[in-house]
Symmetry: D2
Subunit: 172 residues, 4 copies
């Protein structure tokens, strides 16, 4: 089982709230607790906090980064996928996740939600984590109503929701 | 100057209104009238209608398709870019456009709007063309308010808006 | 018809011979003479010289660049495809060519030959243009002998060879 | 540390020798023994055998597949990266490897060697494993002589060679 965590990157243009980073940390921790692999974009902010949470719980983390070399990955990635394809690696993050949990996030996070929506992945936005998680949580992204972006208040139930919906893929 | 036209693909899951296809056709025609190159995803529906409009006006059209061979492009592409990278070619469609006009569209179109938003491209959604053009037109896609998706009722003023905002890139 | 021209980029690590650049220029000119669209990687060196040759003959050129914005393309591209996917755009250059002509070139050019070989595109290496064109021209790239990289001394017969092999794809 | 294993995919067009598959298995086993993560293209043939070898030794394997969903990965991948970008995922396999070991292989394997060569990754081709490993092993891929593709007779010394050259990247 591979669960994607998506959300804000560290950036000069926005200050991520500490509560958002804590939520990301808890999401990562709970993914590890449930023995799932944590997939992320491998950079800072929400990605880094969730990876750290997973590592503190003994989990395994994979960072799928835009760059062609390893140096930009955060320190809590057990494995790094150096895509070299820039921001379009967002597609790979979503495609490589059995389910997706969003914590805050800007338009890059929205792209990952779109890809998940397109392929009908189970997705949960953490309530009150800010950004696109609050803007698009509880909604369908287009008129085809393919799959609802669920919302959950807490990381534990977010992870449970994903697990409850992804029992189908057997071996991973 | 390269102007992207994005919107519904032909699909069994949704019936595109004839008025939407007519709007796409007129957008293509007006892009050609103003001597801009029409960029699109090269497939059916809005992409095909806009390419046909441009060709009927003697314009030049480029279709950037998901596939690695030429066979899936619509018949009105003067040149076909066979990306072979699947749906992540949406990034290339948006990146290769100086400005973007959306006509209807589902979540794939939303991804292209997101990429344009991320890179602050001028973007116009045609009013009453349905889909994500009506849902997201007039809005910012995230809390950073990077660039507004403008709305215009008619193809002529949509093309004029894009041209008015893209005088900066000189040579193309 | 879309013909790819591949070869050396301008670079500090190697001095491209003037005769190689002249060959590239002539290849471009002859592609334009035969009303084919010239596809290239859109940067300097062989790419730039071939584009200039095509433009001097009134042809149409498309540069498929690694970058996500237009600024790095050479000045002789009528249209620029901003892939944003870095060096893996080599796949798109080869996939978007009905046939490929190589002039000199390093390992990036070899990758494009490999992609053409994989998909059995007609390919010609210009003799005495240096680099991988001379190393791999006249050879099969693996033991499956999928398609021979032909060699021709002069640009005219190189273009003729490609045209003779690509009559099949009708409309472009 | 992430070590890439590249080589033949299972295919109807070529029969892979059992000795080649055994070499791949041993390479995988030795990568696991040395606690490195095995990176591969995630499909059949050499990729599958090397993953199986690593798993039998208790190692960790990542398959970076062309497809956008999980179903095509071989059964011995602990994690699957669903790129959805087709064959250009070869770039990601090579970029995500600190060093690369090739076992047999066709032109796709050659592309991965080219990418490793371009970025000066340590690379070893296993002698007498067939295909491009024997054709290009012991050679430079272009005239710039960036990095030699080393050759080794046995999987143990191949893995040792890679490890000896990749002490630099610390944390992974």
């Amino acid at each position: 089982m591979q669960i994607g965590v998506i959300g804000y990157n560290k950036s000069s243009s926005i200050q991520i709230r500490q509560t958002t980073l804590s939520l990301a940390y808890e999401v990562g921790k709970n993914i590890a607790k449930r023995n799932a692999i944590l997939i992320s974009g491998g950079l800072g902010g929400v990605m880094e906090s969730s990876c750290k949470g997973a590592k503190d719980q003994g989990g395994f983390t994979i960072g799928i980064i835009p760059h062609e070399d390893f140096s930009q990955a955060n320190d809590y990635c057990d494995a790094v996928i150096c895509t070299g394809i820039g921001m379009s690696r967002d597609f790979i993050v979503a495609n490589s996740s059995d389910g997706i949990i969003s914590v805050g996030g800007g338009v890059g996070t929205l792209i990952e939600l779109c890809v998940g929506y397109m392929t009908k992945k189970p997705m949960v936005a953490i309530k009150n984590s800010g950004g696109v998680s609050d803007i698009y949580g509880g909604k369908f992204l287009d008129e085809r109503n393919r799959i609802l972006i669920e919302t959950r208040k807490d990381p534990v139930s977010a992870v449970e929701y994903i697990l409850s919906k992804t029992r189908t893929r057997s071996s991973f």
